[in-house]
C-alpha cells in the first residue's frame, strides 16, 4: 500500500478519536462542575472530592485504562467489557478531576457576592448555583477548558492499550506492518492530532473572550 492509502486508514480513526475525547469532555463537565461546587460550598464533604481528585490526577491514564478494562471486565462484563465505554469512562472521570480544579478557580473569580444576591431573591443554595453561578463560571473557565480539551484529544491516544482502532492504534499498526519506517506513520498521526486539537480550543477561547466582554470582566 502506498502512503496515501495508509493515511486514509489513519483518517478513518478520526471519528473514534473525536468521539472519545468529546464524550469524555462532556462527562468531565458533568463530573467536574458538581465536584467544584461541593468543594467550595459543602466543605464538610470536601475531603471526598479531594481524594477523588488525587486518585484520578495522580494515576497515569494508561494505568487506569488497564485497571478498569482488564481488571473489571471479568466481574462486570457489562459495561466494562466495552472498550469504548471504558475509554470514555476513564478519560471522562480523569477530566472531571481536572475540570473540577478549573471551575473552582472560576467560582472564586465570579465571587461569593453573586451567590448572596441569588439567595436574597429567594433561591436555595443549589438553585442559585445553577441559575447564577454556573453560567458565569463557564465564561470564566474557557481558557482552561480549551487546554483541557486539547489534553483529552492527546490522552485519547492511550486507549490503544485496550484495542480501540483510533488514530494512535492505526499509526502503530502501520508502523509494525511497514518496512521499518516508524517515522512517517507517527508524523502523519501527529498532524491529525494537531488538526483536531485546535479548532475547538480556538473557538472556546473566542467565545470566552466575547462572554467576558459582555459580563464586563
Amino acid at each position: 500500500m502506498d502512503v496515501w492509502q495508509q493515511f486514509i486508514i489513519l483518517l478513518e480513526g478520526v471519528p473514534l478519536t473525536l468521539s472519545i475525547s468529546l464524550i469524555s469532555f462532556l462527562v468531565g463537565i458533568a463530573v467536574g462542575l458538581p465536584l467544584a461546587f461541593i468543594r467550595v460550598y459543602e466543605k464538610e464533604i470536601g475531603f471526598v472530592v479531594d481524594a477523588y481528585e488525587k486518585i484520578f490526577r495522580g494515576v497515569p491514564e494508561i494505568v487506569l485504562l488497564i485497571i478498569f478494562f482488564f481488571g473489571l471486565r471479568p466481574f462486570f462484563p457489562f459495561p466494562f467489557g466495552n472498550a469504548f465505554f471504558v475509554a470514555c469512562f476513564v478519560l471522562g472521570l480523569r477530566s472531571g478531576a481536572n475540570q473540577s480544579q478549573i471551575y473552582r478557580g472560576a467560582i472564586r473569580g465570579v465571587g461569593d457576592e453573586q451567590m448572596i444576591a441569588g439567595m436574597s431573591v429567594g433561591f436555595s443554595k443549589w438553585r442559585a448555583i445553577w441559575h447564577i453561578m454556573v453560567p458565569q463560571v463557564f465564561s470564566f473557565s474557557t481558557a482552561g477548558l480549551g487546554s483541557e480539551y486539547a489534553l483529552l484529544i492527546k490522552d485519547s491516544a492511550y486507549v490503544y492499550v485496550i484495542g480501540l482502532a483510533e488514530v494512535m492504534t492505526r499509526s502503530l499498526q502501520w508502523a509494525r506492518n511497514g518496512a521499518g519506517d516508524y517515522v512517517t506513520p507517527f508524523v502523519l498521526g501527529a498532524a491529525i492530532y494537531i488538526a483536531l486539537t485546535f479548532p475547538l480550543a480556538y473557538w472556546l477561547d473566542r467565545w470566552g473572550e466575547r462572554r467576558k466582554k459582555k459580563i464586563g470582566l
Binding site: I116, A117, G118, M119, S120, F123, I132, P135, I215, G216
Partner: protein, 265 residues
C-alpha cells in the same frame, strides 16, 4: 417585620468547633467583633425607617440578619407572624418575601436588566413567562429604566445599575425592602436618580428599612431614624429630633459632623 434581641458576632472562625477551653485561652478577644448586640426593632407595614451611624458599626450586618442572609447568633427575626429564626423554617421562601438592595449592587452579571428582574419571578415565584415578563417590565418602568432593559450590567452607569437592583427587589412585591446604603458606592452625581426612585417608592407606601446617610432624603421620607453605633441602637426618634437636638452626645456629634459635611459639598 421585627427583630428581637438580635446578636451577631464575628471573629471566631467556627464557633461550633471551638471548644470551651479554646474560647477562654486561645481566641484573642480583640478579634471578636460584636457587630450586633441586643438589637430590637419593629417595622410595620408602610413604615419607612432609616438606620444611620458610623461606618463599621454593624449596620449592614444587622440588615443582613434581618434578611437572614446572615444567621443571627441569638435573638429572633419575625416576618409577619412567622419566626424566621425558628428551626425548620424555609428560609428561601422567607427571603423571597424580602427585597434586598446591596451597597455594591450585585446584579447578576450574565443577565440583562430584564433578565435580572425576571429571573426570580420565573424561577422562584414560578410565574408563567408572560406574566413574569410583564411584572419585570412594570418594575423597570417604576424605576424609569424602560430604555435599557436589554443592557448588561457592565453597560450601565452605577445609578442605572442600582435602579435595576431596586427593580429586582420590588418586582416580587415583597413585604418589606431592606436597603443597605444604596447610594454610597455611587458617584455623587448619580445618587440623585436613585434617591428619586426611592422617593417614588416612599410615596406609594412601600415598607422600607434603609441604611443611609442621605440626610435630606431621610428628613423627607423617614418616620423614624435610628442612630446605630458600636453594634447597638443608641437613639431612635423622628427626623425632627435628630435635626434639632438629639438626646445623646454621640448622636449629637455624629449629626454635627454629617451636616457640616453635607453643607460643605
Amino acid at each position: 417585620m421585627e427583630a428581637r434581641h438580635v446578636y451577631k458576632t464575628y471573629g471566631i472562625k467556627n464557633p461550633k468547633k471551638a471548644k470551651k477551653e479554646d474560647a477562654e485561652t486561645c481566641v484573642d478577644i480583640k478579634h471578636v467583633v460584636e457587630a450586633v448586640k441586643d438589637v430590637s426593632l419593629q417595622i410595620r407595614k408602610g413604615d419607612i425607617k432609616l438606620i444611620f451611624g458610623p461606618s463599621g458599626s454593624g449596620k449592614s450586618t444587622f440588615l443582613r440578619c434581618m434578611a437572614m442572609l446572615d444567621i443571627p447568633d441569638k435573638g429572633e427575626i419575625y416576618l409577619g407572624d412567622e419566626c424566621l429564626t425558628a428551626p425548620g423554617v424555609d428560609l428561601n421562601k422567607a427571603r423571597a418575601r424580602i427585597g434586598f438592595v446591596f451597597q455594591h449592587i450585585y446584579l447578576f452579571r450574565h443577565l440583562t436588566a430584564l433578565g435580572n428582574v425576571e429571573l426570580a419571578l420565573r424561577k422562584v415565584l414560578e410565574l408563567p413567562k408572560d406574566e413574569a415578563r410583564k411584572r419585570a417590565i412594570d418594575a423597570l418602568t417604576e424605576v424609569k429604566l424602560t430604555d435599557c432593559i436589554n443592557k448588561y450590567p457592565s453597560q450601565m452607569s452605577g445609578g442605572q445599575a442600582q435602579r435595576v437592583g431596586i427593580a429586582r427587589a420590588i418586582a416580587r412585591n415583597p413585604d418589606i425592602i431592606l436597603l443597605d446604603e444604596p447610594t454610597s458606592a455611587l458617584d455623587p452625581e448619580l445618587t440623585g436618580e436613585v434617591i428619586d426612585t426611592l422617593r417614588d417608592l416612599a410615596k406609594e407606601g412601600t415598607t422600607m428599612l434603609i441604611v443611609s446617610h442621605e440626610m435630606p432624603f431621610a428628613r423627607e421620607v423617614a418616620e423614624e431614624m435610628i442612630f446605630y453605633d458600636e453594634g447597638g441602637v443608641v437613639e431612635t426618634g423622628p427626623p425632627s429630633l435628630f435635626f434639632n437636638a438629639p438626646n445623646t452626645d454621640r448622636a449629637k456629634q455624629f449629626m454635627t459632623r454629617i451636616i457640616n459635611r453635607t453643607t460643605r459639598e
